[in-house]
């Protein structure tokens, strides 16, 4: 029942949020607020579901069918996100357990600071670095933006990976450190078990639940990053449909639902991935 209510609230929220720009009529000297255009748009959308009009959008006098076009946009976003998510989880787990043992405060400072940097700062600095290297050596390491011919791949993936990876590394490193102070570790040590064995079978297995608990936040951060990355690298992904086609109410609503679906796919995909890691590494 709870799930049903939250789903209904989400749908209503998406319908209202995308319609908010419609309720303000802005003129040079004042702003009028009218709810009528929003209600009309919602009614039009719902009646358009049956005629198919709600699944059309327009760009420069041409009409496109949403179902025919969304596939390519969705697939691109999904591929970038899925790849970045898997790399982020692996590096987060590995570096998290390594840095927990190093206990270097300056290392914590460095990665912590990297974690607080906004995504767009990292992206713009990466782009500039590539341009700068190209100017000095004449070697183009990666594409700075997507052109008509081919999309940029390397830099977007790096940008999508850094923030979730650093976030996971920091939190999992703290968790690992905390677990190392627990009494069951002392017991295992007293029994003469090897260090590597204790790390893998006793500490690592107890870190996994924290990773699972943090997964919603990680995926939310990644989706937020996706907007910035696709925008700054000019990638033809899902978020482009929200910003490059003017304010077309049905298109915006559909795209928001596509975003929610993307979120769900990445979240459950990662859950599956973590399950596989658990099954292969930990044994009773």
């Amino acid at each position: 029942m709870n799930k049903f209510i939250s789903a209904v609230i989400s749908i209503v929220f998406i319908f209202l949020l995308t319609g908010v720009p419609k309720i303000f009529l802005v003129s040079p000297d004042h702003i009028t607020v009218t709810v009528k255009p929003l209600i009309e748009a919602v009614i039009q959308y719902i009646s358009g579901i049956f005629t198919g009009e709600s699944f059309q959008y327009h760009l420069r006098d041409r009409t496109y069918q949403f179902w025919e076009e969304i596939g390519a946009f969705f697939l691109l976003s999904f591929q970038y996100l899925a790849l970045a998510a898997i790399i982020a989880v692996i590096t987060g787990l590995l570096l998290g357990s390594i840095t927990a043992r190093l206990r270097r405060e300056w290392l914590k400072d460095l990665f912590g600071f990297l974690g607080t940097l906004p995504d767009f700062v990292i992206i713009i600095l990466l782009q500039m670095m590539v341009v700068w290297v190209a100017k000095i050596t004449g070697v183009r390491i990666a594409k700075v933006a997507t052109t008509m011919a081919e999309p940029a791949v390397l830099l977007p993936i790096i940008s999508l990976t850094i923030i979730p990876a650093v976030y996971l590394m920091n939190t999992l490193s703290n968790r690992t450190y905390q677990l190392m102070t627990e009494d069951f570790v002392l017991t295992a040590k007293a029994k003469g078990l090897k260090k590597g064995y204790i790390h893998l079978q006793h500490i690592f297995r107890n870190v996994i639940p924290f990773l699972k608990a943090d997964l919603h936040k990680v995926v939310a951060v990644m989706i937020s990053n996706l907007f910035i990355v696709e925008y700054l690298f000019n990638l033809p992904g899902v978020t482009r449909l929200m910003f490059n086609y003017g304010h077309q109410y049905p298109l915006l609503v559909n795209t928001f639902f596509a975003m929610v679906l993307l979120y769900g796919l990445i979240y459950w995909g990662l859950r599956l991935f973590i399950k596989i890691i658990e099954r292969t590494i930990i044994h009773d």
Partner: protein
Amino acid sequence: MTKKNQMLNLRLWIGLILSTFFLLVALFGPLIAPYHPDDAEEIKIIETDQGKKMISPPLPPSSEHLFGTDRWGFDLLTLLLYGAKYTIFTALGVALARIVIGGAIGLYSGMASEQSRFQLKMGPLGSIPTFVIVYFLLVAINTNSPFSPLTLILIQGAVMTVLGLPAVISVVSEKTRNLKQQLYVTASQSMGASHSQVARRHIFPLLKENLLILFINEIIAVLNLLGQLGIFQLFLGGTLFKVDIAGEDYLSVTHEWAGLIGQSRGYIMVHQWIVVFPILAFVLAIFSFYMLARGLEQKYQAQYHRPPHI
């Protein structure tokens, strides 16, 4: 007390000094600015050894313009100094409002009995980033707006405060619930202390430290949010949308830092100083607050430290 505790808390001091510096810049920036934000460099023709040479903005960094000028000839250092107050004080104000309101609600719901406690279940809504919500709420009234910059800042500040509340409330109520289980709290409760007495005498004094660190982290979070909105041309205090022969331009009305980054994010190949200096200012501000948070964390954590077994 170990030797480490007696050592100077370097991070705290760096954070304090840099944060104070940014506060001073925000307060007195316009007084020390070398130019007026409306003074633009015009196209000039100067005599050189090779003959006449035309100089037109954007001018690179020089002794006259330490950070260079933008495409219209405005001095970047001046713009940054004038815009600082909007960025810094909005971040401080929104973070403070989130902590005061969210902290109060969180403390209250953490003290309440298990049934009535605050439940944070975002469901599918968690997949919509905060900046996207702010963007759709404000995009219509923020571009070429009839409202004054101050009105727009207050509206945007209120929206950002409300959207940040759930996170603060859940952290504070969680922490309160943890502290409530401490022995001295149950002892004082069994001796007849009321809810408000427990909250005031036992919970809040310990929560204070967490709230301070949370406050600074919220400042960083608000700066992040402002920056993301800036990338999508929703500038704090209003966006000016202009179409001229050079193309479409989105300009920041207030010259706040996220706006300066957002309006010039295209300068990656050429004239990089136009975007580099605003980014440096922005990153340094985040760095100083980060150092402050880290310094405080270390100061408090030294009290509860347990060494690892392996």
